[in-house]
Every structure is written in structure tokens, then in C-alpha cells.
Symmetry: C2
Subunit: 210 residues, 2 copies
DNA sequence: TTTTTTCTGTTGCATAAGTCACATATTATG
DNA sequence: CATAATATGTGACTTATGCAACAGAAAAAA
């Protein structure tokens, strides 16, 4: 999903005269930013994991996107105007770079190394984001809870190169990510076990098919 | 959703020595391309409308994305490997530019105008794509068929700046786009009419709330 | 440690949404 | 124009999923 290029190392190495970007750290469960459609904010996640979470008027919670190292996110990408609350929440301790789109758009007048390297790698980061979003859509357009679970497991499985893996999410979060009711998801999980398609020991998933 | 910049005009104006891009035209319902994960294809829709459509093993059809003028699409953005068939189908007559990602990535050695302008505007096109995808996810994560319909109508309404508008899709396609069963969607549409939230005369939708 | 909070696992019940089937309307096509 | 093909609209029935509620396990906090 993510590039091997390590922006963080580079950030630590180089300093940039013209750089208006802010670097901040967050601890688990802190709110990194809210989407309020004005600042054209663009962020890069240097380390840690975070989620874009939506709370709707009925109190429903949806994990809209999940971000890991090198993910880009922020208001620039989000023109949807509903009344819902959109927060980026840290899942673990995080380091985040804050830009505005304008800062990134125009080339650095001072010709500094920092901007050069960032501009060079931004297209790749963006490309990764698009494939992530497409994968997300693929997941959400699965017809049933069962299909969503199976596809999610399959994605993690290929990422980890193993039919056995730890769930990177709590089951509560997984339900919010797959956009299904938690108890309904638990029921389906049980049925998958009964059908000998999937086994689950604690946090560990074992795919039994193929 | 899309930029005001008109690539097509520009394409007709400039020619490019180094340009390996192919420009092709398609008539309604023709298949523009299939996603087969090898060629790193990247396409720009110069004119017309097209859909990325998925046919799954149960014969279900899903409209994954809808593309209009200046939309970019192609395999580069799509790393999902399911057994499903992924086709881009022309909804109307279309003109499409075909690139590979490699062609776009490296700067033109001949320094021609064509590449310069394209490179200049590509970030904006990509940004638009990301907001489109985020909107798509927002739509798909609506809880109920009713909510999906209401959000879809609201999107078109803001785009058209009017509470009255023609549906740009057939109802059959709309169901495939919202990822719901067609007859269930029809039922919900009837309920929305009964609840005096939405009216529908033929192809025309009238939003009655607010 | 103890206490509190969050997460997991499960149930009964209600209901939204899918399935199938068909009639009519509308749009393509020979 | 006639005929085929596709889209719309609706109803009866089934099923999947959501909802509410609770108990025990695990994790976090005091």
C-alpha cells in the first residue's frame, strides 16, 4: 500500500528555510485534525496509525479511511458538505506534517532540497492514496456482511503474505470500518467459523479456504 | 467536480513530438478498457461519460465509478485483485487519451509544450479524482437505501444549483451505483414520495425538504 | 491491587432490503 | 412501421441485517 521511501528520515535529515510546514506529534486517541473545509489542509502521516472517523446525527460512527505510514490526508481531498463531524483520530502515537495545498503547489523559490524531494515523491504518495480509496470502495460495494468480511480478510492476508494474521483493528472498529452493525458482524463471523471458512482464535484470524 | 481547464481544446491545439499517447473515440456502450493489472494504463476522458463497472461471479453489476469530462482513470489506480471483471464502458460517445504511467512520470526530454501543460494540470485532475472518490465513499457508507438516495439527490442538486433536476442515470444504473437492489430502491423511492420528501415526474426529481 | 471502562460474544425481535415474478412503458433496431 | 429489447413500476414472500439488551472477558485507569 505504501511506498518504501521514508519521508520521516528525510525530514529529520534536511531542514528547509522556506518550509512553513508544521510537524506535530500526537498520542493515542488524540484528535489530529477536523475537516472543516476552509484551510485546504494537507497532511502527511510520518509515523503511527490514524483513522478518519465520521459521527452522524444518529450517533453512528463510521471509520471512513484508515491511514498508516506515509498516507496523505486532509481537507483538500474532501469537498463533501454534510452536517456530520469528520475527525482524524490517532490510533497509536503519531507524527504528522501539516501543510496547506498552496504551500505544496507552488515550487520553492529558494530551490531548497526539502521541497525538491517532497515534490518528487508526492505523485507516488498520491497514487497510493487513490489505490487505497479504490480498494476501500471495492470493499464497501461487497453485497453482504459475509462478503465484506471475506474480502477484508483476504486483503490483510495478501498484505501479510499469510493465511494467518492478527487483526490490526478491534472488532468494534472493524464493524465501523465495514459499515455494518457490530452484533450482526459477530453473528456472521460465527457462521463463517461454522462453515469452516475462517477460524478465529482471540485476535488471530486463520483463513481455511483454497 | 471537474476543473474548468479544457484539456481537449489544448490537445487539439498542440501537437507533441515525443507524445506516445493514443487518442481514441468510442460510441455509446462500447468498452473503453478493461482492468487487467499489467499495462499501468492511465486514461483521461476528454469528452463524454463513462462508468467503471464490475461484474461479479453471481452476475451482480456494480457501477464502481462514474467518469465525466476530464476524469482520469485506469489500471495505475487499481491494485485490487479479485476475480471480478472490471470494465470501463462508454455511457455516451467518448474521446479518451491513453497513456502509461511511465510516459507521464518522466519529464519530456524534448521540452515540448504539450507535456509541460499536461504536467502542470495533472495534479489538479488528480486532486479532483480524490475528492470524487471520497464523495463516493461518503455515499456508499450511508446506512440505508433512503439515506443513499437522499445523499445522491443532494449531490446532484448542489451540482446543478437547483432542487429540481433530471436524473443523469437510468434508475437501473442508479441502483447499481448505490449498490442496492433495484426493486428495493424503487420501493424506497415510492416511500420518499409518500413522505413528501421527494417528488418524481418521469426522469425529473424534485426535492421538497428545507 | 481494585475499580472502572471498553471490548467481546450472544440472544430475541423488528424491519429493511433482497429475490422473484410479472405487467406496462419506453426506447432501440431491423 | 413493427418487433425486439430494455427500463420502469409494483406486489408477495424470504432473508439478512439492524437494534436493544445483557453477561463475561479483557484492558485501562486509579
Amino acid at each position: 500500500m505504501n511506498t518504501n521511501f521514508n519521508i520521516e528520515n528525510f525530514i529529520y535529515t534536511f531542514s528547509c528555510d522556506c518550509n512553513k510546514a508544521q510537524k506535530k506529534t500526537f498520542s493515542k486517541n488524540q484528535v489530529i485534525t477536523t475537516y472543516i473545509q476552509k484551510r485546504n489542509q494537507l497532511c502527511i502521516l510520518l509515523s503511527g496509525n490514524a483513522d478518519l472517523v465520521r459521527y452522524d446525527l444518529n450517533g453512528n460512527r463510521t471509520i471512513v479511511e484508515h491511514f498508516s505510514k506515509n498516507a496523505i490526508f486532509g481537507e483538500v481531498f474532501y469537498k463533501v458538505t454534510t452536517n456530520n463531524e469528520l475527525l482524524v483520530e490517532a490510533r497509536s502515537n503519531c507524527t504528522v506534517l501539516f501543510y496547506t495545498y498552496d504551500q505544496l503547489k507552488k515550487p520553492c523559490t529558494k530551490g531548497c532540497e526539502f521541497h525538491k524531494i517532497l515534490a518528487e515523491h508526492l505523485p507516488e504518495l498520491i497514487l497510493n492514496k487513490i489505490t487505497d480509496l479504490n480498494t476501500r470502495i471495492e470493499l464497501l460495494t461487497q453485497r453482504s456482511t459475509r462478503d465484506k468480511l471475506l474480502m477484508y480478510f483476504s486483503l490483510i492476508s495478501t498484505r501479510k503474505l499469510s493465511k494467518t494474521f492478527e487483526l490490526p483493528l478491534s472488532l468494534t472498529d472493524l464493524a465501523d470500518y465495514l459499515n455494518v452493525d457490530r452484533s450482526a458482524m459477530m453473528r456472521e463471523l460465527k457462521l463463517l467459523k461454522e462453515d469452516k471458512l475462517v477460524d478465529k482464535i482471540g485476535n488471530r484470524i486463520i483463513l481455511l479456504y483454497e
